[in-house]
């Protein structure tokens, strides 16, 4: 636990320190301590896991739309497989896509570049973080290959279903699932320590706290939230693993345990986790919106304070997941109030983004389109959450497809649109080439329309009473009417279109990486420090004698009396 990197910052990466440049391919790309390489490893792993976790909904939505058919590229879906697919879709998308891409990949890549540092303060801990994460990827994939297949107790893993192999029928898969999640948490714990320490101690000379770009702030706040909330879930995970394998009865009511206890331990982490992935996405959107509307970020400090307020409030809301689990009504009252309260800072943040747009000279490049669609879709997700946060109406909507549609309207903008915003915006910096703009816009429009085609029907289905986690709705007379089935087919078709559109992105991504138009240092004319170095930056980010000094805030666009409409942070006057 004690990385002896204390002397690291004493020596530089510059010309006198050349052994990094002589490394062979393996050492360079798999054993590197360079934050950019580690960020790229996280990014590519996260993209691979997005394909992995994105394939699951294709299979189970085909089963729901056309029950019992042999799904192309998969085969007939059994009920156990269906459970494993829905469970791991949730787990993979949150823990192996949203977290590694939004926090680990962009956190690693951007924090040192944006604060003008040559690397993280604990580079070897950083490498360890990715290695632990890579092991967790192997474990979660392996959980599908063991006898009885992957864990099928839903991504929330409520006991007694998750605790007893007689109920969940996956004795191996459930334990491997827990091990993978625990490893993943350790990886992000190490990573988060690194992010916060780096942002606090390695800032360029002259960079005050109000000169730090918003995305760096957001990743740091998210890391603090993660570290402060993950402990109880780790405790619960150990207890659940003991229940599964050692014959203890922590969550078994038969023998004096308490199943509701797990729900508290899980959601104590689980709800702050929503804000852990939301805040970096809003930070990314803030960067993109200012750059492409050529206007100063409206209310920098207000956004920062609302983010901190959101973080504080996020510890007070988790029990709204247990409104019908039989928690004390006195507790339900309090949590209803806090849950509805937390929409205020988030809404404030969205309005400040819109205020940033107001009066700007907006350029509709691909990253900007993604950023704007983030605001639009996330607002739908936020507004539809209010009936769920109020404990009275939640009783009727709980565990219906309304809930599914609601949280996908939040998580899709966060995890997918947020990642696309960041990727298309920083792609020139990461790979030194521009992405194809036409392909990018085609991909954007198909994705942004198809996602509504998936989840608007699910709102309707949920309001009609369709329950979650059902293998085949033909077993329920009221839910197997033709008009409801038509909505299911609409959602499935939209999903297939959405998934096919991603191949467009993959083509664009890999083609542009090698054959795209060469990017300049600062293709978007941004003010923040990462645009002052080469694209892609070399080892050490800046030549040793040219590390930047900061003279002003990160969003000085359209300052009057200057030739250019932007004023980079590192230019003295």
């Amino acid at each position: 636990m004690s990385e002896p990197a204390s002397t690291h910052h004493a020596h530089g990466h510059g010309a006198h320190d050349d052994h990094h440049h002589e490394e062979n391919f393996f050492l360079k790309y798999f054993w590197s301590t360079d934050h950019k390489v580690i960020g790229m490893q996280y990014l590519l792993t996260g993209m691979f896991m997005a394909l992995f976790g994105g394939f699951f909904p294709y299979v189970f939505r085909m089963q729901l739309a056309f029950p019992g058919i042999s799904v192309p590229f998969y085969g007939v879906v059994s009920p156990t497989e269906y459970n494993a697919l829905v469970t791991n879709h949730g787990t993979v998308m949150i823990f192996w896509v949203a977290m590694p891409v939004l926090i680990a990949a962009f956190g690693n890549y951007l924090i040192p570049l944006m604060i003008g540092a040559d690397d993280m303060v604990f580079p070897r801990l950083n490498r360890l973080s990715y290695q632990v994460f890579a092991v967790s990827v192997v474990v979660i994939i392996a959980s599908f290959l063991v006898p009885q297949g992957g864990f099928g107790g839903a991504w929330t893993a409520y006991p007694p279903l998750s605790a007893n192999p007689d109920y969940n029928l996956t004795p191996w898969g459930s334990t491997l699932w827990l091990v993978a999640v625990a490893l993943e948490f350790i990886a992000f714990l190490i990573g988060g320590i690194n992010f916060i320490t780096t942002a606090m101690n390695s800032r360029a000379p002259g960079m005050r706290w109000s000169d730090v770009p918003m995305v760096v702030w957001m990743i740091c706040i998210a890391s603090i939230l993660f570290m402060a909330s993950v402990g109880p879930l780790m405790a619960g995970a150990v207890m659940l693993a003991f229940d599964q394998n050692l014959g203890t009865h922590f969550f078994d009511p038969k023998a004096g345990g308490d199943p509701i206890l797990w729900q508290h331990l899980f959601w104590f982490f689980g709800h702050p986790e929503v804000y852990v992935v939301l805040l970096p996405a809003t930070g990314i959107v803030a960067e993109v919106i200012t750059t492409f509307s050529r206007k100063k970020l409206f209310g920098y400090k207000t956004i920062l304070y609302t983010a901190i307020g959101t973080g504080v409030l996020s510890f007070f809301v988790w029990a709204h997941h247990q409104f019908i689990a039989g928690i004390d009504p006195r507790m339900a009252n309090v949590f209803t109030v806090t849950t509805v309260l937390i929409s205020i800072p988030i809404a404030e943040m969205m309005f400040l983004f819109i205020a940033t747009l107001y009066g700007g000279s907006i350029r509709f490049k691909t990253p900007m389109l993604w950023a704007l669609s983030f605001i639009a879709l996330f607002m739908i997700g936020g507004v539809t959450g209010i009936p769920l946060g109020a404990s009275g109406s939640d009783i009727y909507l709980h565990d219906s497809y309304y809930v599914i549609a609601h949280f996908h309207y939040t998580f899709f903008p966060i995890a997918i649109i947020g990642s696309f915003t960041a990727l298309t915006y920083w792609f020139p910096k990461m790979f030194g080439r521009m992405m194809n703009e036409t392909l990018g816009q085609v991909h954007f429009w198909i994705t942004a329309i198809a996602v509504n085609g998936i989840f608007i029907p699910l709102f309707v289905l949920g309001a009609a009473g369709q329950h979650r986690r059902i293998y085949n709705y033909n077993h329920f007379a009221q839910l197997s009417t033709p008009d409801l089935q038509a909505l299911r087919i609409l959602a499935t078709v939209s999903l297939v279109i959405l998934l096919l559109a991603q191949f467009l992105f993959l083509f664009n991504f890999f083609y542009s990486m090698f054959f795209g138009e060469k990017a300049s240092k600062n293709p978007w004319k941004g003010c923040t420090l990462e645009w002052t170095t080469e694209s892609p930056p070399g080892h050490g980010n800046w030549p040793a004698d040219q590390l930047p000094t900061v003279y002003r805030g990160p969003y000085e666009y359209g300052v009057e009396g200057r030739d250019e409409d932007y004023w980079p942070q590192n230019v003295p006057n």
Binding site: M200, I224, A228, S229, P232, D258, I260, H264, F268, V312, F315, F316, A319, F323, I324, A325, G326, I327, D328, P329, R330, M331, A332, N333, V334, T336, V337, A390, S391, G392, I395, H398
Partner: protein, 74 residues
């Protein structure tokens, strides 16, 4: 009654509003002590991280002030 009092009164009244909604007639835990423990641990788990974060933030703030006082313009 001042405006602040009125706001507080409305907020407190709001706390009592959802009181009639109980979803499940049979599934809350049997004993009052268990319910009390849930509330107690909820408060404990919620306050503890905020206290820790707050105290570290305060410590950092103090350090920054200290450094600004001692650093000769570096």
């Amino acid at each position: 009654m001042s405006r602040v009092h009125a706001v507080w009164a409305v907020a407190l009244a709001g706390l009592t509003l959802p009181g009639v909604a109980e979803a499940c007639a049979v599934c809350f835990s049997a004993t009052e002590s268990n319910r009390g423990a849930f509330i107690g641990t909820t408060v404990f788990l919620t306050i503890l991280p905020l206290l820790m974060i707050g105290s570290v933030a305060f410590y950092v703030y103090r350090r920054v002030k200290e450094m600004e006082a001692t650093e000769p313009g570096a």
